[in-house]
């Protein structure tokens, strides 16, 4: 019981102190860019009503989900092919290295040419940025499959889909998840950027709108919402990862303990 209390104390103590410091330092602030925290929190429920959540947050999330899913499927599929054949990898590696090195947001102007400024553009932008970490990590993961296991699978006659599902993808999955995690934070960035570029709806668009109309407390609430969103998405990702990779974490814990 005392242990639990101590842990709770550790988790909440510093955040409470920080929020209190922010509250106290900004209280009575007359600087228009740093409104008091009290004002920000007061405007929060007025700005982020159910209507706004439906009209701006949901479209953003749906585009993020669509682009991310697209990138995950394409990245894992292409990565598995490239990783499985040494020749293919040698041919593709320089090109992939170059494409990965392009900072994803600079693709926004180009993709706007092809796809206009609608939802398609934003989804393609998100997908084109997220695909590289997934692809390259899949290549690395597939390449590093234990050769003894590969030969064992061959001598047991395991081929085709079963080999892919139970051996190759499974043993590459820790790497793939590392890629998916990087891709998630890139995806959030691109979601916001693509909305800042072209008018319409979405969280990024709303925040820029507030900033241009000098509705500073409203803009601050937008920043808070984005922060919360980033935090919640990464927490959800960690939950999924822990479930899917439970076998891997267990394996690592046991090998670390044994020697």
């Amino acid at each position: 019981m005392r242990r639990l209390l101590l842990r709770v104390f550790y988790v909440v103590a510093l955040p409470i102190v920080l929020v209190a410091v922010w509250w106290a330092a900004s209280d009575g602030s007359t600087n228009p860019f740093w409104p008091p925290l009290r004002t920000i929190l007061k405007t929060f429920p007025d700005v982020w009503t159910g209507e706004r959540l439906r009209a701006d947050v949901l479209p953003s999330l749906w585009r993020l989900a669509a682009g991310y899913a697209l990138a995950a499927v394409a990245g894992i599929a292409i990565g598995t092919v490239v990783g499985s054949y040494r020749r293919v990898r040698a041919v593709c590696e320089p090109v992939l290295e170059f494409l990965r090195a392009i900072p994803p947001p600079v693709l926004v102007p180009v993709i706007m040419l092809f796809a206009g400024i609608g939802d398609t553009m934003r989804i393609v932008v998100i997908a084109s940025g997220c695909v590289w970490p997934v692809l390259l990590n899949t290549v690395e993961g597939v390449r590093a499959v234990d050769p003894v296991m590969l030969e064992t699978a061959r001598s047991y006659g395991i081929t085709g889909m079963a080999r892919l599902r139970d051996l190759v993808l499974r043993s590459a999955s820790p790497q793939i998840f590392a890629g998916l995690r990087q891709a998630l934070s890139i995806g959030i960035i691109l979601m916001v950027i693509s909305e800042m570029f072209a008018a319409g709806d979405g969280i990024g668009f709303t925040i820029v709108q507030f900033q241009r109309s000098f509705a500073i407390p409203d803009m601050w609430t937008g920043i808070l919402v984005l922060g919360l969103l980033g935090f919640l998405l990464s927490a959800a990702f960690r939950l999924v990862e822990r479930r899917v990779l439970a076998w891997y974490h267990g394996l690592r814990a046991s090998t670390r303990r044994s020697p």
């Binding site: 550790y10 020749r87 102007p109 092809f114 959030i188 960035i189 916001v192 922060g227």
Partner: protein
């Protein structure tokens, strides 16, 4: 074997460039949207002869380098402090876990209001994004310190500073270098993004200008430059990492094999 894979890589690159030339010429996509490789190359050549391009490149690199230096310095110092001072690690864990996933682009409106299109608004984004990479890796690294080595140092009467210098730092260095490598890539992305969206001077702003004046080949040429820059940063960071860790077994092992 090495020669073969280099040749295959070069062939892959050649095919890539040839496809870029052939696809728009055959009319698969509109030439106005996707200019052929030769057209992009000539636009790139024009850029390279333009003095404004070089000063934009310089601006981008300045923002990147200063931001990265601040982030690395702050990340390492905070990381070591947090793990060395008792109870600080436990007390800060939840705050770090909360602040880290906040996308740095959320700060764009704030940067615009506070600093406009100055270098400072680029720095704000770059430092915020890359600081966490270094901090997290430093924390991992310090956690990895061998307790036996730590206790040995203690029983030999090494002071706090000497222990940080001789036990903690060598253990954490591989992690720190990994953090620096990740941060270097992230910092470049954020520097160019900030220029693109906010309009601070640099390559990103040049892309935005080229786009709004419909100079499509120039947009592509500048994207190629951004990609090459990213490639140089990646390769350079990996080289620095390998040099700084030449003594470490993870790198020595690679050479022996």
């Amino acid at each position: 074997m090495r020669g073969l894979s280099t040749a295959l890589g070069a062939a892959g690159l050649a095919v890539f460039l040839a496809l870029g030339e052939a696809v728009p010429r055959l009319g698969v996509v509109k030439k106005a949207y996707f200019p052929p490789t030769s057209r992009i190359a000539s636009a790139l050549w024009d850029e390279l002869r333009d003095g404004a391009f070089w000063s934009a490149l310089g601006d981008t690199l300045t923002g990147w380098a200063i931001g990265l230096a601040i982030a690395v310095g702050a990340g390492v110092v905070v990381g070591v402090l947090v793990s060395v001072v008792p109870y600080l690690r436990e007390a800060t864990a939840s705050t770090i876990e909360f602040l880290r996933p906040i996308p740095s682009v959320a700060l764009i409106p704030l940067a615009v209001l506070l600093y406009g299109t100055q270098l400072k608004s680029v720095l704000l984004l770059v430092v915020y994004a890359s600081f966490w990479q270094v901090l997290i890796q430093t924390l991992y690294g310090v956690q990895d310190v061998d307790p036996v080595a730590e206790e040995t140092a203690r029983s030999y009467g090494l002071g706090a500073w000497a222990r940080v210098r001789h036990v903690l730092w060598p253990t954490a260095l591989p992690y720190v270098m990994r953090g620096v490598r990740l941060a270097a890539a992230v910092a470049l992305i954020l520097a160019i993004t900030a220029e693109l969206v906010i309009g601070a001077p640099g390559l990103g702003q040049r892309i935005a200008v080229a786009q709004s004046s419909q100079a499509v080949p120039d947009v592509y040429a500048l994207i190629v430059v951004a990609g090459l820059l990213g490639l140089i940063v990646n390769v350079g960071a990996r080289t620095v990492e390998r040099r700084a860790l030449a003594w470490h077994q993870s790198v020595r092992g690679k050479v022996a094999v």
